[in-house]
Subunit: 223 residues, 6 copies
């Protein structure tokens, strides 16, 4: 505890932006169905879709001091990822911290705890994915750490990993493999467009994916 890692590696900006364009569900599939945060992490408003480099924060319950420390470490395009040392739904983050983070170029916050001032955050266009919306105030008494590996909502996140978040949830992509994941994600997007047209025309997935034989082998009976 009490450590701030100042220099972190980040993925290439075009890779990050490419992942944002693909969206969470596609990126998650493209990297082998790993990296999703728990489904209780929900956006405070609909329609935001972002990607950015993780600035990780490990914070005590109901103590938001490390958010101030973390904001100094933000580079434009980053996303803050806050995990707690024990569960809390307190409101660690509101419009003042969002103003400060946004001024540093932060694209959003992923927080396994609570957030408040959600009306203001939506007006500012500062998206947050959180476990709770809660006005409960926090203190500034105990150290945590910044940019160390954390477990946030069931997913392991290291500083500099790419965070992708939209209305489907939040996914983490390991920095080192981000470019490769992007290629696979783009391929899926291209591939899905053709499938979508066929399905829209009435073709069945049973036929398009040639499932009938395997279903019969498994014993599916029509009665």
């Amino acid at each position: 505890m009490g450590v701030v890692v100042q220099n972190i590696d980040r993925a290439a900006p075009d890779v990050i932006d490419g992942l944002a364009a693909c969206g969470v569900a596609t990126v998650h599939e493209a990297q082998g169905r790993i990296g999703l945060l728990a489904s209780y992490m929900r956006p405070i408003y609909r329609g935001a879709s972002i990607a950015g480099s993780a600035v990780t924060i490990l914070a005590p319950p109901a103590d938001n001091w490390m958010l101030h420390v973390a904001i100094e470490q933000i580079k434009p395009g980053d996303v803050m990822v806050l995990a707690t040392t024990s569960p809390s739904d307190a409101g660690y983050f509101g419009d003042l911290l969002a103003t400060s983070a946004q001024a540093r170029g932060c694209r959003g916050l992923i927080i396994d705890a609570g957030v408040r001032d959600v009306v203001d955050l939506e007006k500012m266009g500062f998206p947050v994915w959180s476990k709770a919306i809660c006005a409960q105030g926090t203190i500034k008494e105990t150290l945590g750490s910044v940019n160390i590996p954390v477990v946030c909502a069931g997913a392991s996140v290291e500083a500099g990993d790419v965070i992708v978040a939209d209305d489907d949830g939040v996914c983490v992509v390991k920095r080192a493999g981000a470019a490769e994941v992007l290629e696979k994600a783009k391929a899926r997007v291209a591939n899905e467009e053709a499938k979508r047209k066929r399905l829209a025309s009435g073709e069945l997935g049973l036929d398009m994916y040639q499932m009938r034989e395997r279903l019969a082998e498994k014993g599916l009976r029509y009665v």
Copy 2:
């Protein structure tokens, strides 16, 4: 397991549409306060209000194979109802399956599990009531069944039962009694309009429903 029932009976289309117009709360009351699914089943977007004949699906956890099988069984106006053999919040359903289902005339999905691509689903106007929004991918390995009786979110549903769903939740109406329930629901709607006007004018429910005497008998004291 591994059974697909192909021919199911459905309620009359005008009965189904009539129930949709009455809405979940009214239909639930009209049939004696039964048939509601658990309140954790929430719409992925606000404002959808549908009714349709249930095509039921029993699926393994995190395995969406049976959705492909079920889509072939859909007739225009149907609603898919998916229950799982053990709890899962995985994202069984997204925009490709919705494209396919919509092409067959499906009006929506009720799923006691997760759904993804919710932005696309809202754009397509394909409503889903689910336990979770979750991007987690699913597999196609294990058989389930289609159009057998299922328990979905605490309610027993048989193929061909009428599903009514809106922002208040989801209600199932037994096919055989659907026309009778519709009559009672229409009577409630008519009756409520008169009550609404009296209440809006300031008349109290205590007086309109003649509650004062019974409250006094029960011992209510004003101090």
Copy 3:
């Protein structure tokens, strides 16, 4: 049980309206971070922001009789606060009761249970903060009480206390101290505006709040 307290004291209208303008997060901070209801209490639609004097209701599970009794006690500007004697997510309140309450000048409902007809309630502009949205009907068989002290969603509420509610949640302000809390809340609002400008210009909270020295004393290490 079975008691209706008819005459309750209320805070001054300008104090109540002033608290509404400050919002939940600010009021909660201004009174020393107490008085918040549990974060599971969510608004049925976004954008409502109210304050009012509490008319408290203690009701049995799935029995909404006392709501009718309570509505008679409402004065313009009041907010109903319903607690249950044991947990329930049934739909105690819908558009008819809302019509009646609104006709009496009621500003909203805080209910540690379920609500229904949420589309209609939004159209009417009658806001509700609830534990659940649920169409389940209720009965009128058992007495509860009106305007006695209750515990609602973890917070103690007495009749006449000021309820402040917005998208961040619900906060209760003791009637006797409401004016003083308003003064402190206004001071916070004024103070925050200056901070917001400094943070927006890129100044760090670490500097603005002079946190660096204390962090170092606690042992924070930059690596």
Copy 4:
């Protein structure tokens, strides 16, 4: 609502007792992995292992009147199964009702709600599987039904179905198929004993079940 079905069919006593001897996990497997109640249903004390014919009860939230009605319908060897019309954790059942039920030959209670007097129930040897232990009292105001089909903790139960319950949970076996399920369950028990010895001697499941080839085909890599 308000119906008591008086004459129900039951499975043969030796079948019921045979299922009890096999236990929940084995019976559940033997009938194709269906029929389990949700895992939140827990025994109030450890070590009870029963089976019996279901006397079903549908009861309003926090109203235990129908338990009195149901007890009259009990035949020796029966198990009561209580579902509620909307969720409740109130304490529907305690030592007085257990005394009465036990006097009629009832073997236990499965209740998707709360129970109380658990110390006395354990002393009496009257087992209960419940959602909660809760002292909250209930009322006797509203009718429910006895021996109609219910959904209890996610499982569909009809009067006369066989209920099997032990420390692993609760399973329902359809009456009509109970004898066949028992045969399969016994076969599993016999089969498991041989496997247990081989595994105890150090033989691996990988070899005993000949899994290695199929794992390799699926692509398992040892590194």
Copy 5:
């Protein structure tokens, strides 16, 4: 915050002990079915049954400093009741604090948070009813208060109220009415013994409580 009320009134020792002998379910009924804490409050071991005067504690999340302050205020026969300012499952209390509390004559702890060292606590015979068992350590940084009114697990508790706790849960009895509640509880106990004998002999509650007529009036049908 930051207040310790030193002198509190307590109920008479024989009243307190009498309530312990009656048990939670009976006391709860005797006082009109109020005062129960939420059913998630469970004993860390079975078989403890206590009553005592409440020493109340309001503590920050994951900060157990106020427990040290509270222990000084304990008189023999007291029970500590800890509520938190926002939810926490951290382990506020373990064997060292229990040793200290027990040395002061404390009979147990009711805590809407976590507890640890449960093996040692059972060996010491120091019972705890808690929301969680959790080893998570706590800090000593922020003030709370002692012997102010708190809301613990949904129940309002004032210092000096009588806490009754056993395997059925936890109930609070207002100090001023405790003697009266004891009288009613004793009457229930006496009354129940006679009922128990009649029920054990096979008499039905339907007859003993003369329910048949009222059930028929409500419309119960036997088929």
Copy 6:
């Protein structure tokens, strides 16, 4: 997915056994209050207290194939740690697998899912800490991995890390630092014994830890 790491490093046996002797709460404190699994992980029976080297398993929901693969990798003294790719409460593990694991010298299982045959497991003395007790059967269709880093119940675990588990929960100690943590844990144990005696004699923590001055500085007021 689909990877089995065969050679893992383990901590020294005496270090592992020393950590078991200290217990979860002490070890957790000794390593700076990190490494705890979520408090919903509970032992299936009371009184077990173990430590061992982690053999990690990442498994699909309701698919226990990888447990067979993992058992081959067990060395005497190991503990299996199973995480799932999406949430499941199915019963992955029962008495047959336990027989096999025990024959290989496995000391227990930590599983963020369900377990069954708990009566048999207790008889065998094979302890399990799990999220659920559930008889639901699982399949063997999809690969996972063995001995890769996993997140189990919110904690990051690598193969060979030391798992400590008792009635207070489960804690993971990084292999590399295990010896150092043991030293600190032993020091705590020694230190606590002296404190326990002083507290048992009636000395207050307020005095023993010299808290009074700091409490006064923070503003604690006695009234």
